[in-house]
Amino acid sequence: MIDTFRPSSLEEALEIRASRRAVPFAGGTDLMVKLRRGAGVLPGFEHPVLFLDRCAELAVLRDDGAALEIGAMVTLARLAADPLVPGPLAEVARSMAGPGIRSVATVGGNVCNASPAADLLPFLYSHNARVRLISRSTRRTLPVEEFVRGPGATEVGPDELLAALIVPGWSPTVSFWRKAGTRRANALTKVSLFACADTDGAVVHRARLALGAVAPTVVRLREVERMLEGAAVADLGAVARRALDACAAAVRPIDDQRSTADYRRTAACGLVEHFIARGLGGRRA
């Protein structure tokens, strides 16, 4: 029989994580699907399970002026509704799954599941967010972009837990989130773009773009960002043409059950074009 633990403090959770190598169980909306074995049969967990829903320390949400700290156990429903959460991030949360999933699915679960189609990741990449990892004796932070190594693979150590996401404070003048799925609700992403920029209407000052589900990990379009930064809005039509070439070269999409590589490449470039034309006010090339 698989042992389960449901500690009521983080300290206790870290002890169990270290001594039992238990699998962290946050909202469970990915794990229970992945390991399901049908009606009346226990889900196929192979290691001890560590329920984290009673660890209040992991559910903090606070803004210290410099950064927003989002506890790993903050749910998508809370992310969508809490006034501390910036509008564009709340919009991403509202676009994910449906109400019955959002009420239990967590920020930490979405990040640690490390799917290339995880909808929080493009926002987090674009904002240079960091993860805080803790164990009984260590505490470290690293960029989300380094934390995610590949599909389902992260830097979390066998005795560590993801405690929180740290999102540096920044309110870009323009934010843009689009995900393409088979329908608006409850559909996993075929391809997505979170993009944001500071612009005064004449010149683009800072631009960040991150594409989801077009490569083994989310992709920051740094070359496109460099093309856009400092560009005059009046020149964006010409910039867009080069940007789309750079976008096409940066993605490595695959065919799978949800979409095709061809669709993903085309749609990714289309989203970037859309952001430049509509988000930044560049005329069509």
Binding site: R6, F25, T29, M32, F51, A97, G98, G100, A185, N186
Partner: protein, 159 residues
């Protein structure tokens, strides 16, 4: 041993904590108002309220229900709004095969508890995690809107 309340009544289960709450509700506690559709969180047929929050009981392990309050269609139908929803679904023709209906009513209850006067868009968003293969949804949205209006009147004129 796991204990929780089911529609206000204390219950307990000796099943493994990783057992799906859905299986405990149906197979152990005999609450067949909870339906299993897809078993993977896509369809909402197994939706129940866990401490007032809408959840898909196929994705909730029993261990996480310990000490909490579970409300299903069997309990909701005994409440004033539950009755109003049941009557409105019947009146508007929002039920055909009926398999999705308990989950949709639970989603409607969660929505109305948080927002007693939702507009049509809010109703569609609130029901977006529930699939119905018969009705085409229009009648369901109308039924929920009708209850929202009745609630509004009951509280003195809506918004």
């Amino acid at each position: 041993m796991t204990g929780f309340t089911l529609n206000g009544v204390p219950v307990s289960s000796a099943s493994h904590p990783l057992t799906r709450l859905l299986d405990v509700l149906r197979d152990e506690l005999g609450d067949f108002s909870v339906k299993e559709g897809c078993g993977e969180g896509e369809c909402g047929a197994c939706a129940v309220l866990l401490d007032g929050r809408l959840v898909n009981s196929c994705l909730v392990p029993l261990g996480q229900a310990d000490g909490r309050a579970v409300v299903t269609m069997a309990g909701l139908r005994e409440t004033a709004r539950g009755r109003a929803l049941v009557e409105a679904f019947a009146r508007e023709g929002a039920v055909q095969c009926g398999f999705c209906t308990p989950g949709l009513v639970m989603a409607a209850e969660a929505l109305l508890a948080a927002d007693p006067a939702p507009d049509e868009h809010a109703i569609r968003v609130g029901l977006a995690g529930n699939l119905c293969r018969c009705t085409g949804y229009e009648t369901i949205v109308r039924a929920v809107a009708a209850v929202a209006r009745e609630d509004g009147r009951g509280e003195g004129g809506g918004r």
